[in-house]
């Protein structure tokens, strides 16, 4: 085992342990903001794993898109919401035994399925490292718009659906909407906004004695 392989294994296990720890903390932390930050940690650690797999472009995309954009927005939302966690906590305790049972069952099944005897190095050859001139982005680009054109187009339609759904759910009805019409706004004249009213001078009315007493 060369020093490179040992280093690789250290990085792999460190990142893997971080993902599992962060994943548990996302669910377990009391404060939702802290939970969101742990999710960021989980994303960063998965990006490290992807770099180990030589998927540099995807790793960077994960950091830019998820950590940089999605989670930042998510943090804003979480900070603005006033979430009361107490009622959730009581239910959490009530369903905990059942949840643990299901979790243990699924965990055993999954460990059984992805065990070394099915996916180990005896079954699959150890993947070779790519050469230094290998470009991840170029490989991705050459199949994305050719072989995977159909799913690529479908994903774009999915984004269109998200836009339509978000706008139609969040946009207030036309009565409540406050629109900016700059063209009309700059042409406004004094007469449109201000009305001069001529009033007759009136006698000053003193508050009555009774009212003064009350105060």
């Amino acid at each position: 085992m060369t020093i490179n392989m040992i280093l690789e294994q250290i990085v792999f296990y460190a990142a893997a342990v971080t993902i599992v720890f962060a994943g548990i903390m996302v669910i377990g932390s009391r404060n939702p903001v802290r939970g969101a930050l742990f999710l960021v940690l989980a994303f960063v650690a998965s990006a490290i794993l992807w770099i180990l797999l030589e998927a540099e472009f995807l790793a960077l995309a994960l950091i830019f898109v998820y950590v940089g954009a999605v989670m930042t927005l998510f943090l804003f939302v979480v900070m603005m919401l006033d979430i009361n966690l107490e009622p959730m906590k009581t239910r959490f305790v009530r369903y905990l035994p059942l949840g643990l049972l299901v979790m243990a069952l699924v965990l055993v099944l999954v460990i059984f399925a992805v065990a070394p005897q099915h996916f180990g190095t005896a079954k699959y050859a150890v993947p070779q490292h790519a050469s230094a001139s290998y470009s991840n982005v170029k490989e991705l680009g050459s199949v994305l718009y050719t072989t995977y054109m159909y799913p690529f187009e479908l994903a774009s339609v999915l984004l269109l659906v998200a836009i339509i759904a978000a706008i139609s759910l969040a946009l207030p009805s036309s009565r409540k909407r406050r629109l900016q019409r700059p063209g009309e706004q700059v042409q406004v004249k004094r007469e449109d906004r201000l009305r001069m009213v001529k009033m007759q001078a009136e006698k000053k009315i003193l508050p009555s004695r009774k009212w003064l007493k009350k105060r």
């Binding site: 050459s142 159909y150 479908l154 759904a165």
Partner: protein, 483 residues
Amino acid sequence: MVFFPNPIPVPQLSLVLPEIVLLALTCVVLLTDLFIPARSKIISYLLVQASLIAVAVILILQFHWPTTYTFSDMFVFDKIGSLMKIFMVGVVFFVFLYSRGYLRQTRLPQGEMYVLGMLSLLGMMVLVSANNFIPLYLGLELLSLPMTAMVAMNRGSGIAAEAAIKLFVMSALASAILLYGLSLLYGTTKSLDINQVAQAVATMPNSQYPVVILSLVFVVIGFAFKIGAVPFHMWVPDIYAGSPNSVVLFVSAAPKIAGLGMAIRLLVQALPSMNIEWQALLIVIAILSIALGNLVAIAQRSFKRMLAYSSIAHMGYMLLGLLAANPTGYGAALFYILVYSIMALGSFAVIVLMSNSGIEIENISDLQGLNSRDPWLAFLLMMLLFSMAGIPPLAGFFAKIGVLEALIGVHLVWLAAYALIFAIVGSYYYIRVVKVMYFEEPKITDPIQYSMEARLAMSVNGLAVLVLGIFPGVLFTLCQRAF
């Protein structure tokens, strides 16, 4: 410099023409709807219906074309897909026709509903003609995301929001489970292409077998979630009860056809050599769905909830055809689901049309004395309900016969007998509604107001059940020949 190191042939766009036309016209509708004033919304409605007719015409003209793969084998054009697409487009056409008056009266945003409905239809069409796990998954998401938005569209209502959240979380969970199963399959077969997966699984060494079984279990769970079969049915009644009636009409019919399409691609075409295993899983799901759906439906007071549980039971009957695991069974399941989509469409349409008068119709008691208020509507609903119960001259009877025949053909006579007993149990609650309509005095006596074209569509819909019952031959042969 070579830009395309591995050039691919230009995809045969003529095969995907219905999808392309639908997407393009959806975008046209989306843009025109923004610029036309609220009082002339009928323009966007007519545009939507015209584009659906155009898509249906293309589909029918293409129907006799041979099975072809395109888009690097990601898209398959075959008879199963074409038949399902024609029915889905037709069903959505009727859904929009029925819900126009309802949407206008409840002041739900019409244009957005139509556009989301069309995009969901596009998702269904992509799903039923996917030959690769990626488009299959994308089609599934494209099917369910617009539906979630449609459920949530009634923003003032608390239960609609609850229903939308439930649908969203449940479909996300189902997608996650399905994806996990598919990723395990990808890990063992090293392919996402359905035909290649089928080959790889058939020639697989025994040591890999447990992994495929586990992925199969995940795939079946994901599928059962999506069609709402027991024990993954909890969301169905809540969604039906919480959504606006027009959305229930949409959710109840066309997506079920797409669900069967997904099962055919995933189980029948991708894992044909595992048929003994998925047959066992589907038997359990079918037994539970038929029993729970029929028994709980008896206890319901709400008409929408009753139909929701009845849909769970019907999904069980449809699975009976699928689990026969031979072409006769698949054809019977396809026939069942197509007939069911017509019946569900008609019976939900009645409550949508009745709600037009301003009040939301929900309970069975709201149907009291429908016969004296609108005899023709009551007659059509009676036929649809009798067809759901499986009473002889109607289409539902032949659908059930086909499924049971396929079961007996593979020597599962006990299962056929079980299904028959619960069909009799189920007919109780359908006939109870008929009793309420015909033999009870109405509380409100004013006649039901709805448009002429809705009346015409309702008649076509109700009589289709009768015509398909008397002459089931053509459609039944088409379904059988598709496999």
